[in-house]
């Protein structure tokens, strides 16, 4: 298919449709209203169904039901709305249901603001809901990648029977860029028939029970071990990241994800012009996190700079990756303020000049 100039939100919707998603349950919230709006006109065209739920609590439980029936389903929201979904997300993870959840992050806490942020990193990667569960979290940095990750997300969700979260920021939702959808896209995983789905018990297979309750603690522990084994498998097989300029020599390694990584890439070019050597690693899967890759990429560098639109959340994972081997610096913006290439350059120069304070160890 030819390239189309699309808003990120619409590309996400279209990517879902292309991936065979026929059902969308959602509730409006800025800055991602264009996703439900797109789905409300697009899905009827392909015989699908859009339901505007009465709330995010309800939307996430609708998703829970629909996924249990084996269909490909998606919802999207932004930060406060995702908080309201955490209970159901924990249920879906516990019941091992494949769903795609999109969080177009805005600034918090509370009602906060509607501008871009990355302050839901912890919520997405460590579990906003209760209990030991993990989402597979993918963070795009462009509209095209958002579309691609949504499509991959459906395959991964089905393969692992696990919720997948697409974690974008307000920029991803609002900006327009060229997007291409590949007609003959093949699933990235071998997909099995969903014999576990609750579609009516006709005696030809065991009864399907979509459930996260196990009153017997030994059984529940076993179930948890099974989940953990699955997360370990993801950690082995699903790590995604990209590196920029790591083939050359460099003094500073930048770690950033999402659109702020693009800001950093602009800064890198300008730094190069100024004769400062920097490379970048961009985690794409936030869970599983590319610890190993970051550790390796940091080898050549004298120092590491983490850039986030938050008070510093991913930085904990970077610290876990590096375990004190390299000095780590941080540049963060909050409240919907964006980091600019100029700021990042400035920070890198400070690090080089020994004027930036290292992030304290403990």
């Amino acid at each position: 298919m030819a390239k189309k100039l699309m808003k990120g939100s619409e590309a996400i919707g279209e990517a879902a449709v292309q991936a065979g998603c026929k059902l969308f349950y959602g509730y409006p919230i800025t800055p991602q209203n264009e996703i439900p709006e797109y789905m409300s006109h697009r899905l009827p065209q392909i015989g699908g169904t859009f339901v505007q739920a009465e709330s995010e609590v309800s939307a996430s439980n609708m998703l829970y039901g629909a996924a249990g029936s084996g269909e490909r389903v998606m919802t999207s929201s932004s930060s406060p709305g995702i908080s309201l979904m955490t209970e159901a997300i924990s249920y879906m993870a516990g019941s091992e249901l494949p769903v795609v959840l999109v969080n177009i992050m805005r600034a918090g806490p509370g009602l906060g603001g509607i501008l871009p942020s990355q302050a839901d990193y912890f919520q997405a990667t460590k579990g906003g809901g209760h209990g030991d569960y993990r989402l597979l979290v993918l963070a795009p940095w462009s509209v095209q990648e958002a579309a691609d990750l949504v499509q991959d997300g459906f395959d991964l969700a089905d393969h692992y029977r696990n919720p997948v979260m697409i974690l974008g920021d307000g920029l991803i939702g609002q900006m327009m860029e060229p997007v291409e959808f590949h007609k003959d896209r093949k699933p990235i995983k071998e997909l099995k028939e969903k014999i576990w789905a609750a579609t009516g018990y006709d005696g030809t297979r065991p009864r399907a029970i979509i459930n996260s309750l196990f009153l017997d603690p030994a059984t529940l522990e076993k179930h948890n071990h099974k989940l953990q084994a699955k997360y370990a498998e993801m950690t082995r097989d699903e790590i995604r990241y990209e590196t920029y300029g790591t083939d050359k020599d460099y003094d500073i390694l930048i770690v950033a994800y999402g659109t702020v990584a693009r800001v950093c890439s602009t800064a890198m070019e300008d730094l190069e012009a100024d004769g400062i050597k920097a490379a970048m690693i961009r985690p794409i899967s936030l869970f599983p996190f590319p610890y190993e890759a970051i550790r390796k990429a940091a080898d050549k560098a004298d120092a590491v700079l983490v850039v986030e639109l938050s008070a510093g959340q991913m930085i904990e994972d970077v610290r876990l990756a590096l375990e004190g081997n390299k000095p780590i610096h941080f540049h963060g913006r909050m409240g919907g303020m964006l980091a600019s290439p100029e700021e990042v350059m400035e920070k890198v120069k400070e690090i080089k000049a020994g004027k930036s304070q290292e992030v304290s160890h403990v």
Binding site: L5, G113, I114, L171, M175
Partner: protein, 181 residues
């Protein structure tokens, strides 16, 4: 080579639309592009702006703090974005609605009476097209005939307005080119 521009004005002046058309033209020309609207609190305040980046390499930051060009369609936009124009950059001022120029001497300033020209052309809503033309004329971010094709495509469902808009576009373009010359 990268071109980037912030276009800003009242909601209703068609700012976001010309930004999209510019980005779309860039894409048609095989360039990398991004278009980023403001969607912040200012929205209900009645102003709108967008940032368009056109480049021959993948677009880095889609948000530009020091843009190579600013198109200011009303006074609040001029006040807000004037200081941000990159040294040596271009500031295009809609002099129909803004009765001041800029005091900066490190940038190129282009006064375009966009609404007046549109009125003249009997296309009262065509001020945005004049501005688009003027930007393209002075930046050569994309070829003007490519823009013309996009205008035709964009308004294909309202054929009656095509000619007027193309006229406005070209009048703007001429002004832009002259200024560069």
């Amino acid at each position: 080579m990268q071109n980037d521009v912030i276009m800003a004005g009242f909601g209703g002046q068609g700012i976001l639309l010309i930004g999209k058309m510019l980005a779309y033209t860039g894409m048609q020309e095989g360039l990398e592009v991004s278009w980023m609207p403001s969607y912040g609190p200012e929205m209900r305040g009645g102003t709108a702006n967008c940032t368009v980046v056109i480049s021959d390499r993948p677009v880095g930051s889609p948000v530009i703090q020091s843009p190579r060009a600013v198109v200011a369609m009303n006074l609040p936009s001029l006040d807000k974005f004037e200081p941000m124009v990159r040294k040596g950059g271009l500031l295009l001022i809609n002099s129909s609605l803004i009765d001041r120029s800029s005091t900066r001497d490190d940038i190129r300033i282009l006064l375009v009476p966009a609404n007046d020209i549109a009125m003249e052309l009997k296309n009262p809503r065509g001020g945005n097209m004049v501005a688009l033309g003027a930007y393209v004329g002075s930046s050569h971010a994309v070829p003007i005939d490519a823009v013309e094709r996009v205008v035709r495509e964009t308004f294909s469902s309202k054929p009656q307005v095509i000619d007027a808009n193309i006229a406005a576009l070209h009048r703007g373009y001429e002004l832009g080119e002259q200024a560069v010359a």
